[in-house]
Point group: C2
Chain length 343, copies 2
DNA sequence: TTGTAAGCGTTATCAC
DNA sequence: GTGATAACGCTTACAA
């Protein structure tokens, strides 16, 4: 591969402006000590030569890159694409650029992490998938902070920001039970992901404590198509038996459930069967669905993620400060009948 | 800001392995001439020191960064977030990293472009917003190719990939007319965007040619909430008068229209009123909507965008090859009554 | 305020 | 195949 056409350097600008090369650097550094007239002369020369400073070169000497890596699971789940958007916006506001990676569902993100660590990024956010302890050790050796977003790794003390999935699941469970549901179906998500498991456990324990006639579950694959296919198969018999309520561990699967229940089985929600999801994605809140769910407060979660990265050179949080458990917002919705009393 | 903890360098690895520094570089360069045993020794030393090559430094000498910038409009429009996802995936497959920028709706992207150009990126993709001729000139001076995605800039010869919006709009118009629609409402999008205008024009000319009882239009703001509010206001009178058909220039606004028509006015689609959108986003194809629309073939459009960037050092396309007009896929859907005959 | 000189961590070039 | 040495384009002392 041939190198691209070369760009103008600070030396060329310096020569054209009749100053020294470091002066050019100063002219582009906010707050550097340089006379106004000299700066103007330099900027004019720079414009003439189409010069802009080369971030890679400056980062080499200054040892700061202003870049962060965001490694995300499949962006086809709206929760992750909404999160990615907020990351890009908030990092941009904080004067950082985002190097974006995507990892296929159910694969570990070691490869992406190794790639990211070749860049002198100021930090790495991992929103999905698992990683080996090897890359974690390497990130520590490199001095690059990693924050897990919406994940936790059991048995590690990695910094992480996540919603209180367990309490959120329990909240859904109590709400459905109070609405009269006694038999349940749980549509499970990514078996690797800690979030799915936490939501399921919270839900299960809550309804079991309150009393139930049975809890079944099926693997929904965390995606619309996965859940749709699983539902069609599960209720595919000649006279399918429906539970009182279905809890899908995320909204995109809950939407798939709603579509299957209505289109294929002609059921009304919530009159014939109750339904709830988790995440609070926009699509689930349209009038067509009005999903009962728990919203993950993305803006806040992203903000706390930035805090944990300690990008501005503050102390890197540790101990309790390294794990942020954020309560989700319960949204009653209209796929579970509401009640007068609180739950 | 203090520099981060320093990482191991190739010199330290070289010393530990008892070789010269360039050998370390070779050990990490696929296809470099180095003996297997020496490479193994070096890789072992590297592992011990947590060494990985620094991309910034290597890019400085090799003048290639393997990074591309993607500047996108608001990712809250699913078309753009789906596109961003595909860009990330396809660039990753091509061995490139994506530096992601987001630009607020209705703002030009000069600022983001200037930022991106400070990085020695191999190319820039712009999926939104307008830009000044000044930054275009600068990109040429820097030798960084720019490709517009789903946009064209009138009066410029910037490389661009876009769907045939005009023919797509016309197709929708003919289909609705064939289904019996004679009075129309167009929900317009971003007044800055060329795509919205092209779709609207194609639609308008097609139905005018076929004969109509009137075409009205309103500004939908390109977003769900914008279109929802506009629709509520537009049909807010005591006895609103509805057209035969509504064409929203993108799916996300069409979805908003469907919600307002059904929830607020109790209309059935398509029995009481026809509706169509544009883009073919996943959400519009759920059974709850089954939107009549034109799908933009994102995968193919992204592939052609990569081609135009000529990342592998091939000749940079020019002339006719610089503009790719891709036909959209018409999706009949169920929000316009189907017909036996073609349209 | 300004210029000189010394890095920053790689790859490229060239002998050996 | 391997090692010395010179870039790459910038920032940061340090001196003037």
């Amino acid at each position: 591969m041939p190198p691209r056409k070369s760009r103008a350097t600070s030396f060329q600008v310096a020569r054209l402006a009749g100053v020294s090369q470091p002066s050019v650097s100063r002219a582009f550094t906010p707050g550097a000590s340089i006379s106004k007239e000299k700066r103007d002369k330099i900027l004019a020369a720079a414009k003439e030569l189409n010069y802009v400073p080369n971030v890679f070169a400056s980062s080499l000497s200054s040892a700061r890159s202003n870049m962060v890596a965001v490694i995300s699971g499949s962006l086809s789940n709206p929760f992750y694409s909404e999160s990615m958007q907020v990351f890009i916006e908030q990092f941009q506001d904080a004067g950082r650029q985002v190097l974006a990676f995507s990892v296929e569902a159910n694969r570990d993100c070691d490869e992406a992490l190794m790639l990211a660590m070749r860049y002198p990024v100021d930090g790495i956010v991992v929103t999905s998938a698992s990683m080996s302890s090897e890359v974690v050790r390497m990130s520590e050796g490199l001095g690059i902070p990693i924050v897990m977003y919406n994940r936790r790794v059991v048995g590690s003390n990695l910094a992480n920001v996540r919603c209180d999935h367990e309490e959120g699941g329990a909240r859904i469970g109590r709400f459905m039970h109070a609405a009269g549901a006694r038999s349940f179906l749980i549509v499970r998500g990514d078996p690797q992901g800690s979030s799915s498991g936490d939501r399921e456990r919270g839900f299960r324990e809550a309804v079991e404590r309150l009393g139930t006639r049975g809890i079944e579950d099926l693997a929904g694959g965390s995606s619309y198509s996965g859940a749709r296919n699983a539902m069609i198969r599960y209720f595919g018999g000649p006279a399918p038996h429906f539970p009182d309520a279905i809890f899908a561990v995320n909204d995109i699967m809950a939407i798939a459930c709603a579509d299957v229940l209505r289109e294929i089985h002609g059921l009304r929600i919530p009159e014939d069967i109750m339904l709830a999801g988790f995440d609070g994605i926009r699509e689930g809140q349209r009038p067509a669905y009005g999903l009962t769910t728990v919203r993950q407060p993305i803006e806040r979660m992203v903000r706390e993620t930035l805090e944990l990265l300690a990008l501005d050179g503050g102390p890197i949080p540790n101990g309790d400060r390294k794990a942020r458990l954020i309560p989700g917002d319960f949204i009653p919705g209209k796929t579970v009948p509401g009640l007068a009393a609180g739950t």
